[in-house]
Structure formats: structure tokens, C-alpha cells
Symmetry: C2
Subunit: 337 residues, 2 copies
């Protein structure tokens, strides 16, 4: 158990290190905070904190840096969250309302905004509906024997696909076919779409129906992620050597994150979780921290996350991830009603 003074010192070390990215010396703490106690006392306390595992030092005569455990304690017990200021909120909401396009543009813009808000990489996944249903399929003639199939799901997602027909068809015939298929398949989800395909005769029509079914299934699987802010993250001093930087670029490829985010989100809705360094099951991310929050409701849920070095401004990041997540939840709710 830490004494009050030890907690206070740990807090100062973490704050200082997050700000400067330099190991924190006993002297620096006394000077910076005009402490009543001497640097020698601080040294004694620091030695104890190190024995307990909250801090380390890179070599004998360097200052202290927080360990993962130190950050963990800081996040849980010490940190004073830096609330999202009113003008920050206004800017964000203003930017988000500018977008007239579809869901994709919202998500992509959200990643950009969040990333610039916290100065690290931001990831937003597309909301995954528990059961997305087909709202409408449409066929548009492209040439005599090719057509574009557009499937619109009830969560607003759209999937396009190009079809090759055996028989030439007109737009009128395509409309008729679309109407028939909509009657047959409207409201179908990935689980039951196959059962509804019975009773079709024309081979082109069967192929089209199958394409619709495949589209629905692809959309069920596809949890696209929108990522932005690589530049921000790479400017952090921890990547000041080339190997680390290349590794960072590799680690941040979106596909590595999906599993992590999914498993994290199972915890519960609405909460914001922080995963620090070694706590991460993926060993490649042992130098990284992830702040992740779920947004949406039981019908459609996705995640918002920020990823950066363990030396991350948790005070700023956590409230901002939470804020963006709740904002996304609202917007999603407004659209779906």
C-alpha cells in the first residue's frame, strides 16, 4: 500500500514524464513543485516506489520513469481528468455536422478529429449491427450484359457489386427483377437469407439473388476500421530512431487492431477501457497503450479508440475518447431513430 506522499510523488513523476518524455530526477520534482521536503527524501521514496514496481530507471544515474504498473495506478487512482472544454466540443460538433455524406464519411472524419484532438492515432470501427437486414436492393444497367447491384441495409450501409449476365437485359427488366427480389428478400439477414432463395427459376435471377445474399454476409463480416493520425504518432520522441518507427508503422496496420478492439469491447457498453503496455495480449503492442470505448447500443455497436506510446496524455485522452464515443452514439441513434 502506498502512503499519501508516495502516491503524490508517483503522480508527479508520471505527469512530468508524460510532459517532457525525459526521466524525472528527484531534484527536478523539488524545483518544479517547490516542495517542502528535500531531494534526498524524494530519493528515498522513489527507491521504495521502485522496489514496489511502480517506477524504474533506465540506468544507474538517470531519473525515474513510470512502469506499466505505475501508469495503471496513475490512471485508476491519481489522474485528474482534463475535461473536454466547451469550445473543443463546439468545434468538434461543428465539424461533424458539416458532413452531408454517408456513414463512411462520418466515421472517417471522426477518426481524423479524434486524432488531432489527442495527438495520436485514432481508430473508429464501423458499427456492427447484431443483425443487419436488407432494406432494399437495386439493379442498374451498366452495359448490355452487365449491371450494378446496390444493396442497402437498414443501418445505412451500402454494398455495390458488378454482375455479369448471360442474357442481355434492359433496365425495365432489371427493375422488375429488383422488385421481385425485394419482395422475396426484404428484411432478410445473414442467418436466413439462404432459406429465402427457393423458387427462383431464371439462372440470371438466381445469380443475382445469390449476389444479394453474399453481399449481406460480407457486410455482416466486414467490420471496417477507419484510422488516422499516423503522422501525429510518429512525431513522438519515442520513435526517434528508424527501427522503432518502421515497427510502429507496421504495428498500426489496422488489421492487427480488430481482434484487440473486439475482445476489449465485450466488457460492457459505455465504459472506457485503458490497456497499458504489457497488459496487451498482442506482444507486438507491448510498448503501446490503447484507450478504447464502445459506442452505440445493443442494435448497432462499434468502437472508438486511441493508440499511442505508453507515455500518453491519459488525462486528455480518456475523456476525449469517452466524449467522442458518446457523441457517435447519439448521432447513430438520431439517424436510426
Amino acid at each position: 500500500m502506498l502512503t499519501d506522499r508516495q502516491s503524490a510523488i508517483l503522480g508527479m513523476v508520471v505527469d512530468e514524464y508524460i510532459e517532457t518524455a525525459e526521466p524525472v530526477s528527484s531534484r527536478a520534482l523539488v524545483d518544479r513543485h517547490r516542495l517542502e521536503i528535500s531531494s534526498a527524501t524524494i530519493r528515498n521514496e522513489m527507491a521504495r516506489l521502485e522496489r514496489e514496481g511502480y517506477i524504474t530507471h533506465p540506468y544507474t544515474s538517470a531519473g525515474r520513469i513510470p512502469s506499466d504498473m505505475g501508469y495503471r495506478f496513475y490512471v485508476e487512482a491519481l489522474m485528474a481528468e482534463d475535461p473536454v472544454a466547451l469550445d473543443e466540443r463546439r468545434t468538434v460538433e461543428h465539424q461533424l455536422h458539416q458532413v452531408a455524406g454517408g456513414l463512411d464519411e462520418w466515421l472517417s472524419l471522426t477518426a481524423t478529429i479524434l486524432s488531432s484532438l489527442v495527438g495520436n492515432v485514432a481508430v473508429v470501427t464501423r458499427p456492427r449491427t447484431s443483425t443487419a437486414r436488407l432494406r432494399h436492393a437495386q439493379l442498374v444497367e451498366l452495359s448490355r450484359d452487365t449491371a450494378l447491384l446496390v444493396c442497402v441495409m437498414d443501418d445505412g450501409r451500402v454494398r455495390q457489386r458488378i454482375l455479369q449476365h448471360r442474357q442481355p437485359v434492359t433496365q425495365d427488366a432489371l427493375n422488375a427483377r429488383a422488385t421481385r427480389l425485394n419482395g422475396l428478400l426484404a428484411g432478410a439477414d445473414a442467418a436466413n437469407v439462404r432459406d429465402r432463395l427457393v423458387g427462383l427459376e431464371d439462372p440470371d435471377e438466381v445469380a443475382t439473388a445469390r449476389a444479394v445474399a453474399e453481399s449481406i454476409e460480407e457486410l455482416r463480416i466486414a467490420e471496417e476500421t477507419f484510422l488516422d493520425g499516423l503522422n501525429n504518432a510518429l512525431r513522438q520522441p519515442e520513435f526517434s530512431d528508424v527501427d522503432r518507427m518502421l515497427e510502429a508503422v507496421a504495428q498500426l496496420q489496422a488489421y492487427r487492431l480488430r481482434g484487440l478492439l473486439e475482445s476489449t469491447v465485450d466488457g460492457g457498453t459505455g465504459t472506457t477501457r485503458v490497456i497499458i503496455g504489457q497488459e496487451n495480449p498482442d506482444t507486438g503492442l507491448h510498448d503501446w497503450s490503447v484507450v478504447v470505448s464502445r459506442y452505440g447500443d445493443t442494435d448497432a455497436a462499434g468502437v472508438v479508440a486511441v493508440i499511442g506510446p505508453t507515455r500518453m496524455a491519459y488525462q486528455r485522452t480518456i475523456p476525449r475518447v469517452r466524449y467522442i464515443a458518446s457523441l457517435m452514439g447519439q448521432l447513430l441513434h438520431d439517424v436510426r431513430q
Copy 2:
């Protein structure tokens, strides 16, 4: 004017430097190519080549590296193109035919494939139709007073947009409205769409029509670029220090490229152009070379490009960019017929 022997030496220097990324010494050339002449003779010739501006050396006693002019001469007169092997073609075509999705997926996959083919950054722009016309607009109910507008253009591009209505509407009413608007606007392009909006009464219908018009214009402007292979490019030895690497990341933001690619493409169709280092009007790209090729025809054209350090394997890159461009042209033609 260069003698045959000077040309040969220049060719060897460029080849060697492209391969090893190390300045090429007179000695190394003699050894590597088992030349009949001595290294002293090579030195004399190299001195002359340097006086003419084809090569330089970084400091007094280093080997030679090609100048931009040297690369230029190499590309125009010396280089033996490395043809795209049959199994390379087969792999590429196989991968491309895997994609069942829309144009976007094609383009994005093409960038990925090309990038891995040449080990540098690849950029593919969306084909821009001279005049894209509206083929079909569709309205899908999302909630009582919101609807999704989907505009499909005759080149297969799709734009979605969410509409807020003043009056609640049913899907049936939306269908009727879509039919009316299609009658009014089908075949409209960005130039004439405004003129066709006359005679509409219902304010929601006017708003919808205006949204269609805006979508068409946005699509005219939006020339999206698909970029891949940052990792590949960053592994080149020229980026072995952090500043250069960060700068590289910044330079390769897609938006910087658009102007360059567009202006380049004006030259003519079907040809592949190479822009080497300082030849580039954008000073930020003075250390980069660009190999760019147009694809498509007068109706719909885009560009395929590879971007990398001036020390680029032009022999491999140029034929592969040309090949991918012609392949894209074919595929585009097949779809549009």
C-alpha cells in the same frame, strides 16, 4: 555527346547504384564486370561524365552516383526494360478477378498489387469521366423523417447522402419521388443539372433534388486517389534517418500528388512518363521520381503511378506501371462496354 564506352560506363554505374544504394567506385566496376580496361581508364571516363553532369560524387574520395540527368539518359537511352513475366501477369490478373465488389475495391486492390510488384508507393486515381451523368437516384427510408439518397452515375460511381425531411414520408412516397426525380434528372451532368430543377413545388422534393445536384457536382470534383505501399518505400535505405522518413510520410500524403498527376497526364494517352527528381515542379518531391501512366479512354480516364526515391528500379517499374495501366484500361472498358 557520349561515346559508346561512356554510355556503357554510365549504364553500369546506374545499374550498380540502383542495386546497392552505395556510391560506385571505378574498381568495383572493373571487378564486377570483368572489364578489359583498367580502373584508371574508368576514372578518366568518370571524370568526363561528371564534367558533363551525368554523375556526381558526394565527397572527394567516394564512388560516383548518378545525377538526375544521368538517370534521365539512362531511362531514355540505356535501360533494358525488364518485361513483366508471364507468372507475374497471371498472379496479378488472378488477384484482380477475385474482387467481386465495386470500382473502389478494384482501385484500392490495384494500388496494393502494383505497390508490392515494384516495392514502392503506388497511387491509383479514380477514372474521371469527362461528363459523368446521373443514371439513377434512389431514396430509402431510414426513419420517419430521414432517408438515404443513393445516386448512381453512369460510370458506376455511387454517392450516398442522408436527408432530413420536414414532413414524415413513407417508402412508397419516397419511391414516387425518386421516380419523378429520375424522370427529371436522368442523364443530367454537373453542367446542366441546375437548369433541370425548375418546376418542383414540395420543399422536401426541392431539397432532395438539390441534394442530387450537389452529389453530382461533388462526384465531378472528387478525384479520389488510392495509395498503398508506404511500408515498402520507407524501407529504402535513403530513409535511414528519422527526419527524412517523417518528411517522406508527409510528402506522400495523397493530396499533394493530385495536381502533379493531373498535369502529367495531359501529355497524351497510353504513354508512360517518368519524372525524375528536380524535374518535378513540386520542390518537396525533388528527391523523388514518379512513373505515371494514364489508363482509360477519352470517356473515362485516370492515372496509375509509382513514387519512390530517384534511385528506383526503373527497368522494373516502368513496364509494370504500363502493364497495370493497360490492364486497368481493359477492365474499365469491359465494364462500361
